[in-house]
């Protein structure tokens, strides 16, 4: 009896850990993409639309071509295109980033739903998994340690982005453009071009996060697939204070919160799992309330964030 309870708790912990790894991938890519975008001074709220378009495109291309890697590439390209639309729209001084971003959420998700209609049923070829658990006899551990390569890519991306911001000329230019465009221009930095590049690259990365949602078990496309993760990832960047390494940590936290409900359900706790399913949303609200002080914004924000012209 006692052993069962212990097994059960162990199962929940393992489930949450495995879920954190699996569920963090969209958060990782979207938040790192948004981090890059916002460091350049732009806000792209349209990440929710990018995520859905990425998911749908990856699914469709993988299904048609039979290659999930091709699907991944196509998703990144489509995401980058949506980013270019956003950056193009908000390049004009009087276009508001937030308003354009909301329009891009609707545009991206509408487009994804429209083209995705015909793909609702089948299952597309999925990305291969890296098997790290073959040493274990326990099937639970074995399945928990079958990890998507995208997870490692995402972690590496966090460190790479950190390196870019600290140690590369381009990274310094992105930060300069985001913090004080006037000063940046005066030392010869092409602010508009930098922002365009950062927004396009950021949206391309976010779309890879979307691709993961359809190219990983159970590998089906449905309209409710993102569940607002694109928007939560934007909030996550604020919580991470625009630092790529903190983005990685925060993405893992959100992934874990998301896995809490399903893990409890799998362990037989049927009662409250709906409540626990809401934990990422509650977490978002709680973190926002904690990090945004009443008196003036969050420290670490790029100085010209969301201001055009």
């Amino acid at each position: 009896m006692q052993a069962d309870v212990a097994m059960e708790e162990w199962g929940v912990v393992l489930g949450v850990a495995a879920g954190a790894v699996r569920g963090s991938i969209p958060y990782l890519f979207v938040s790192l993409g948004e981090c890059l975008t916002e460091k350049s001074g732009k806000i792209n709220l349209g990440m929710e639309g990018v995520l859905l378009m990425g998911a749908m495109t990856a699914f469709a291309v993988s299904d048609q071509s039979g290659s999930p890697w091709l699907g991944l590439l196509a998703a990144a390209i489509v995401g980058a295109m949506l980013g270019a639309v956003h950056a193009g729209l908000t390049r004009f001084p009087k276009v508001n980033d937030v308003a354009a971003g909301i329009a891009m959420i609707l545009f991206g998700s509408g487009l994804a739903f429209f083209f995705g209609k015909q793909f609702v049923a089948p299952m597309a070829p999925q990305l291969p998994l890296i098997d790290l658990g073959s040493w274990s006899a326990s099937p639970a551990i074995h399945s928990a340690l079958r990890i998507s390569p995208l997870f490692f890519c995402g972690i590496a991306l966090g460190f790479a982005l950190h390196f870019v911001f600290q140690r590369t000329r381009w990274g310094l230019r992105v930060r300069a453009a985001g913090d004080d465009p006037l000063a940046a221009r005066s030392i010869g930095i092409p602010v508009d071009r930098i922002r365009m590049t950062a927004t396009v690259a950021g949206a391309g990365l976010a779309a890879v996060g979307g691709a993961h949602m359809t190219l990983y078990f159970p590998g089906i496309w449905s309209e409710g697939i993102s569940g607002g993760q694109g928007l939560m990832a934007v909030a996550l960047v604020i919580f991470a204070r625009w630092n790529p390494l903190r983005c990685v940590a925060a993405a893992l936290l959100f992934g874990g919160a998301q896995a809490l409900g399903p893990s409890l359900q799998a362990a037989g706790q049927a009662g409250y799992y709906h409540l626990f399913n809401a934990s990422p949303y509650v977490l978002t609200l709680a973190l926002m309330a904690l990090t945004c002080s009443r008196h003036g914004g969050v420290s670490g924000a790029p100085g010209a964030l969301g201001r055009n012209g």
Binding site: R167, T168, R169, W170, L172, R173, R175, A176, D179, D180, L182, A183, A184, S186, I187, G188, S293, R294, H295, G296, P302, G303
Partner: protein
């Protein structure tokens, strides 16, 4: 590399229909400290930007080391060692000094090796005029330190002919002194030529070798500093025909205390206290000057008095009666405010000049009858005040945002000083960025109000202005009054030390 010789001949520049430069000649020898003076709008900054290549030159020549040079690109100017420190900062606030100095360096590799960059910076700092902490973030620096970093950045990038656009306007007297002394030393060593754009004759007389005076886009003359005097320069700047009216101060000493602030505490934008138990008293017929470096709570103090910021402790009173910063109370107690950046703090930008002038009185006769506004009365009163306060262009119907800074200032001054009996007048940096003539006009109005018995609180970053006008000077530092001196005993050095916060304890 020695500093180049720089010469411009007959430069003209138009912006639309306005002739900004209309025949300017200027010559700066290698290793010379040259001053450029002139009223606002005389074309000083435009000339510098033309020489740097930010503005294209319409007509005329520029010679660098005797050869014709067509400026067209600031980057090209940089290659020839021509650089400029602007009035606005060009540093990235969230970055460190090391990052700010390295980022614009030509030849910075795509992957930065900070060890090498630091080696380079260390070598540069062995001979630099100021020492700074390379790891300090710009946002943590005072205006004075930022100004030093701006200069260091130019020198690091190899500037040999350095133009500075009113570099001392954001500095304390001590800092200004230090910056100019160090630059002067570099010029003396022959490492640098300087073109200093300034309003302050004291700086010209003390540091420059030669001075060129601009008037209305033309060179009014050039002098050797040893062979001229401030009076001659002022005459050249303004033309011989204009004279400046001076309102004399009444000799009488102040009356009873009219305006009192006691134990005031308020929070700044970031939520921390910026005023700590601030107390001050202003007497009738007295100008109390508040000196201090910006960012020590002056702005917040004015905002509290103007009703823009709540306070959570303390008391403000006029003639012993508690003052509540609301319209009705302001009017009853006769308190008027001339805040800094009046277009933002004291005007509705899209409304006309006349409407803005009527903002204090619009809901009472003659402007309102039976609850209806009379625009005719508003326009008539506006036109009269526009005339009296020489607002230009003299039209009551233009949106106030279309006026120049000095004229917005005049229009707001007209509203605040227009007719009513003034018991208290609060003015914050009323002459910031205004030229000679406009500043003198506003100074006269302040002295006038004082002579008529008003209690005037003058908050200013310009110590010369305070020494000129105030009956008493207090120094504000970190949200407190830290020093007080009366007019006859005011000592600029002592006040400067308190402003810099060096006199604690």
């Amino acid at each position: 590399m020695r500093p180049p010789s720089i010469e411009v001949r007959g430069i003209r520049k138009r912006f639309g229909g306005v002739r900004a430069l209309d025949g300017v000649d200027l010559r700066v020898e290698p290793g010379e400290f040259h001053a450029l003076v002139g009223e606002n709008g005389a074309g000083k900054s435009t000339l510098a930007k033309c020489m740097l290549g930010i503005n294209a030159i319409d007509e005329g020549n520029m010679l660098v080391d005797g050869t014709l040079w067509s400026a067209g690109d600031p980057r090209l100017a940089r290659q020839h060692g021509i650089g400029m420190v602007f009035q606005h900062f060009t540093l990235i606030p969230s970055m460190t000094i090391a990052e700010n100095l390295s980022l614009p360096r030509p030849g910075l590799p795509a992957i930065i090796r900070w060890k090498e960059e630091r080696e380079r910076l260390r070598a540069f700092f062995a001979n630099a005029p100021f020492q700074v902490d390379l790891d300090a973030r710009i946002s943590e620096l005072s205006a004075g330190q930022k100004q030093k970093v701006e200069i260091l950045k130019e020198l690091y990038l190899g500037t040999k002919f350095l133009m500075l656009d009113e570099p001392t306007s954001v500095l304390t007297p001590d800092e200004a002194e230090e910056v100019l002394i160090r630059l002067r030393a570099m010029v003396n060593r022959g490492d640098l030529s300087v073109l200093l754009i300034t309003h302050k004759f004291r700086e010209v007389m003390k540091y420059a070798d030669r001075v060129t005076v601009l008037r209305k886009g033309r060179t009014a003359g050039a002098r050797s500093v040893s062979a001229t005097c401030p009076e001659e320069l002022a005459g050249m700047m303004m033309g011989e025909t204009r004279t400046i009216e001076v309102v004399e101060r009444d000799a009488k000493v102040g009356g009873p205390v009219v305006f009192a602030v006691a134990g005031l505490r308020t929070r700044g934008d970031k939520g921390v206290d910026v005023l700590h138990d601030l107390s001050l008293e202003v007497r009738a017929g007295e100008i109390l000057g508040v000196a201090g470096i910006s960012g020590n709570g002056q702005r917040e103090l004015v905002e509290v008095i103007a009703g823009q910021r709540p306070y959570h402790q303390g008391r403000i009173s006029v003639n012993g009666e508690r003052y509540v910063p609301e319209r009705e109370c302001m009017q009853r107690l006769g308190i008027y405010v001339l805040p800094e950046v009046p277009l933002r703090n004291a005007a509705v930008p899209g409304m006309t000049v006349a409407e803005n002038i009527a903002l204090r009185q619009f809901d009472r006769p003659p402007f309102t009858h039976n609850g209806l506004l009379s625009y005719a009365a508003i326009r008539r009163a506006g036109a009269e005040l526009i005339n009296r306060f020489s607002v230009s262009p003299p039209s009551p119907d233009l949106p106030i945002e279309t006026l120049s800074g000095g004229n917005v200032q005049r229009a707001i001054l007209a509203r605040e000083l227009g007719g009513q009996e003034i018991r208290v007048l609060v003015a914050a940096n009323p002459c910031f960025g205004l030229d000679f003539g406009a500043a003198a006009f506003i100074h006269n109005r302040l002295v006038d109000a004082r002579n008529r018995g008003a209690a005037v609180l003058l908050i200013s970053e310009d110590l010369d202005e305070l020494l000129d006008l105030a009956d008493r000077i207090v120094v504000m530092s970190a949200g407190r009054i830290v020093h007080e001196s009366i007019r006859s005993q005011a000592d600029q050095v002592e006040i400067g030390r308190h402003m810099a916060g060096h006199a604690a304890g």
